[in-house]
Symmetry: C2
Subunit: 211 residues, 2 copies
């Protein structure tokens, strides 16, 4: 055969799974140690359900070329650590100039973005809302609803993930917190450290500048 | 600004539109002359609604790089020309080794695929079913349901479209017809001409072979 077989995958919105993919990973609450501001509240969650799944990703990876596409579904539990909404670890693409598309299928969330230079964007995501994450943005998702947050995603197959970038700056610049009125509020993370101009250059320098 | 702004687009499943994109094109029935087997039935449709929209695409194109992604929504009317279900023109990517993802949001369709060597695949598509169209497959969608067929799609930004490939072989190899029992049947298109080995090489040759 000279060409690859077409593939049909089915999305189960109710369970938050891509069926007939070839990849699956889970993050438990234990895996998320160090991400949240409120250490006491996090310890209480660990005591209750350290090995429960906090979020999981099912995906299909057809190839590894720049031009190929990985697709999948991410599902995140609802909840809070103290006032802070549940979130994913977050990453920048190892090849920083690769974008990503997130299409919300159910739930209510925030796509939290941070540029290497420290610009912050919070994109509200509800069912059938799609976020285009441009090249070079660190991104994570936050579940601000009372149900699972389920999103379909697609990105270039050679993007890779750099999860350390967030740790190196003391976390992301803001935290998405319950505002006590049924909504959210972004609060500055005092542990956040601005990246040096040299670090910003190192991240942006590899890729093409975009307006 | 050193990085592009994140973009949120909303999908209206009911109207089959991507809202807040930057591209929109429509195909009328008149534009589809020559695609269908039953010339008399097609003439009757033209007499009735030549300038009505048969299908339309709303999209967002952030950039032009191989690694960037175009996304959008395609909406196709339901109906038949004689026994043949409504379809899109179909294309292969001008850069043949670029894949595409189609995620069905509503309706019932077929992703009709044909390899340069003449292999045929029909992938049934219903809500929340996703088709990964691998590199090098000619593809079109067919609406076999009684409602609009609405799909979200994503593909590499430099893919391009070659619509002529289908015309050069006398159409696609099979036609998706009403089987008279509420379903569909694929019937051979007698006008279809096999591509020469040289033509197949020319299409596949530019890209990397895939298993």
């Amino acid at each position: 055969m000279r060409v690859a077989e077409p593939r049909r995958c089915d999305v189960s919105v109710a369970t938050g799974f891509l069926v007939n993919g070839d990849g699956h990973y889970r993050k438990t609450y234990r895996d998320l140690a160090g991400l949240y501001a409120d250490a006491e509240a996090f310890a209480a969650i660990l005591a209750e359900k350290a090995d429960d799944v906090a979020y999981e990703v099912t995906s299909y990876t057809p190839g590894e070329k720049t031009s190929d596409l990985i697709m999948g579904v991410t599902r995140m539990e609802p909840g809070k650590v103290g006032r802070e909404f549940f979130l994913t670890r977050g990453h920048i693409h190892a090849k920083g100039d690769r974008p990503e598309i997130y299409h919300t299928l159910s739930g209510r969330g925030i796509m939290q973005l941070e540029s290497p230079g420290g610009e912050v964007r919070l994109v509200e995501m509800g069912p059938q809302q799609v976020c285009y994450v441009p090249p070079f943005w660190i991104h994570r998702s936050v579940n601000i609803g009372s149900q699972d947050l389920v999103m379909f995603f697609a990105y270039p197959a050679d993007s890779g993930q750099d999860y350390g970038i967030i740790e190196r700056s003391g976390g992301m610049r803001v935290r998405v917190m319950d505002n006590g009125k049924g909504g959210y509020v972004a609060e500055e993370n005092p542990a956040w450290r601005e990246r040096s101009p040299a670090d910003v250059e190192a991240i942006l320098g590899g890729g093409e500048m975009v307006a």
